[in-house]
Symmetry: C2
Subunit: 107 residues, 2 copies
């Protein structure tokens, strides 16, 4: 679950698509995530394992099914700690505002 794991997990289009699917509807089973894909179930299993070890997806067992849940935290972490570094100008001011919004309760 290092930064490197997250970047490498995001490097593959199939895995980003799986995250997209979970973003549209969270908590899908393996078979549901496989539906309509041009890939075997085993391939999807491997992709999901990589997403898990990057902590981008967590899994919960329900009977004989494995339900998958997206975890946005690592993505946000990267956005904060890594991508933010490359933003300049008024985006830097925005970053300060972002911190302010996050530190307190400004819903």
């Amino acid at each position: 679950m290092t930064e490197d794991d997250v970047f490498r997990a995001l490097a593959d289009a199939s895995r980003r698509m799986l995250l997209d699917r979970l973003h549209r509807r969270d908590g899908q089973s393996l078979n549901e995530l496989c539906a309509g894909l041009d890939m075997t179930r085993q391939a999807v299993t491997k992709h999901l394992a990589i997403l898990q070890s990057a902590n981008l997806v967590s899994v919960q067992r329900r009977g004989r099914e494995r339900l998958h849940f997206i975890n946005p935290v690592p993505i946000n972490d990267i956005a904060e700690r890594w991508i933010g570094k490359f933003q300049r100008g008024h985006l830097r001011a925005l970053s300060a505002l972002k911190k302010f919004l996050e530190e307190d309760d400004h819903e």
Copy 2:
């Protein structure tokens, strides 16, 4: 220079380190970027080529040197179009504000 190119370029720790170096000091030559690395110059050349084709780095020739310049646009694009999608709650409100700040001249 597709989204996939950018994600894949960012997937390697050596390439992220090269971007870090350029972020600390922009416009370095190939030899400068190689200094102190546990890698041959040719390996660095290949990494820089990948960063170029993802449009993350642009190159300018000066005499016999190749100067490398970081381009933050693709990183910002991903932050906007892809990572922002996975942010929720007050971060969503922030996104709207961010758009507002970028569309006009609010320096």
